[in-house]
Subunit: 255 residues, 2 copies
């Protein structure tokens, strides 16, 4: 019997040659998400807000307030995501904003949530946060625990749904890549896996789209080493940014 995992590892990812990223994203989403997973629907004038830490922030101009621009979007996965969304939905008058801030943990999102989230009245809110909630316990003297991450993240999502009852949520899986220059395996694993599990649990609780970034990177890394996609294991290089955009689109049902 050929399982889906067989397809992924023996079929799509076996051997040399092209690894077409839309197909990889599709296979990973199929493998990682239930068939009943929620999807995003876009309508006319949909406001999409991308929130998170440095992975989202990535070179944006913090002074920019103009949606859909290079200044607003920066040059991380939000740019490649916006390129594809805007090109594929020309009649929807989409408004895409990036408000990722480098270094942020969940409580820091909360601190700026009124201005940097609620004020935008997003129809679609995508959040990728968690790597710093763990990383900064290793290098920054941060004292937050996994339980704090879960509780703070749940509170943030509850508050968000209270203020924006109709918002469609996208929760990105925090990831850390073995072989990345910033990732010392014995310090990161298995502890960090708990943060991934919390994000997935919260996505379920809040009927959010869940973007399986870790699974996507793991599949990509079977073809080429971590350095190619994301040299430090956290901040993606160009190929990783494109990969993340495609994973997002596939998970959201917009690919």
């Amino acid at each position: 019997m050929t399982t889906r995992r067989d397809f992924l590892t023996k079929g799509l990812l076996a051997g040399a040659g092209a690894l077409m990223i839309p197909e990889l994203a599709k296979a990973v989403a199929k493998e990682s998400l239930p068939a009943s997973a929620p999807k995003i629907s876009l309508k006319k004038d949909t406001v999409i807000l991308l929130q998170g830490d440095s992975i989202t922030d990535m070179g944006r101009d913090r002074k920019s307030n103009q949606c859909n621009t290079f200044q607003m979007l920066g040059n991380g996965y939000p740019l490649f995501l916006a390129g594809q969304l805007l090109a594929s939905h020309p009649t929807d008058n989409l408004k895409i904003y990036n408000r990722g801030v480098s270094g942020d943990k969940v409580f820091q999102l909360r601190d700026r949530w009124e201005v940097d989230c609620i004020a935008f009245q997003p129809d679609v809110l995508s959040i990728l946060v968690g790597v710093n909630d763990y990383w900064h316990t290793l290098i920054g003297g941060y004292k937050g625990t996994l339980a704090d991450y879960e509780n703070e993240y749940r509170d943030l999502l509850r508050y968000t749904k209270e203020k924006l009852p109709k918002v469609q949520l996208v929760i990105g899986e925090p990831y850390a890549l073995r072989g990345g220059s910033a990732i010392e395996d014995t310090k990161w694993f298995p502890m960090f896996d708990g943060y991934r599990a919390v994000a997935r649990k919260l996505a379920d609780e809040f009927q959010a789209v869940f973007v399986p970034y870790q699974a996507g990177y793991d599949a990509a890394i079977k073809k080429m080493h971590t350095r190619y996609w994301c040299a430090d294991g956290v901040h993606p290089d160009l190929p990783g940014r494109q990969l993340m955009a495609n994973l997002w689109l596939e998970a959201a049902g917009l690919a």
Copy 2:
């Protein structure tokens, strides 16, 4: 009988809703290119050089010599093309360079060809040039004719093939979009159509991949006005840059 044009105009492009850009690119390529059109093959260590004018140049750092970086690629279609190529061909060690220079006409490419093309020893050379060869006759006092464009372009390609006999060529169709702020219809058409025809003729002569940018934009503009894709009719905005990258990949057989 349903012709391919019917499919394009009545099927894919009819009605509202999503206009998935890979599908649009596929339909346009099928419509615009013969089934026997050449394709690009990528191998290990393939060097890809993108040449042209401001449409290619688009914010690159002229001092950068490092392939595959944001500095080298700028933020035009070369960036979106590179993102997809690098993500989909992780084992090929592709080296992608951008040497577009704003304002260039064919003779200006020739002037810098030794340093900015031959020296790279590209395996794949993509050229998009022609809009300034016409535009600058309207606004810059340039005296070159359509025949000059053809002769200079043919000489450039001949010289390139002499120096780089194995190079795989990609020739982009110069385009000018009705409704763009820089395009005054009565001054541009039908004269500019001759430049498009010359580029296609030269692609045939030199067995180059031909990228039908004008047809791609024309199809996209049926869904949303020129301002959305390319406000001045020449320099693409974000949606147009993504569109061009997808048209290139499709024409090259790499989508």
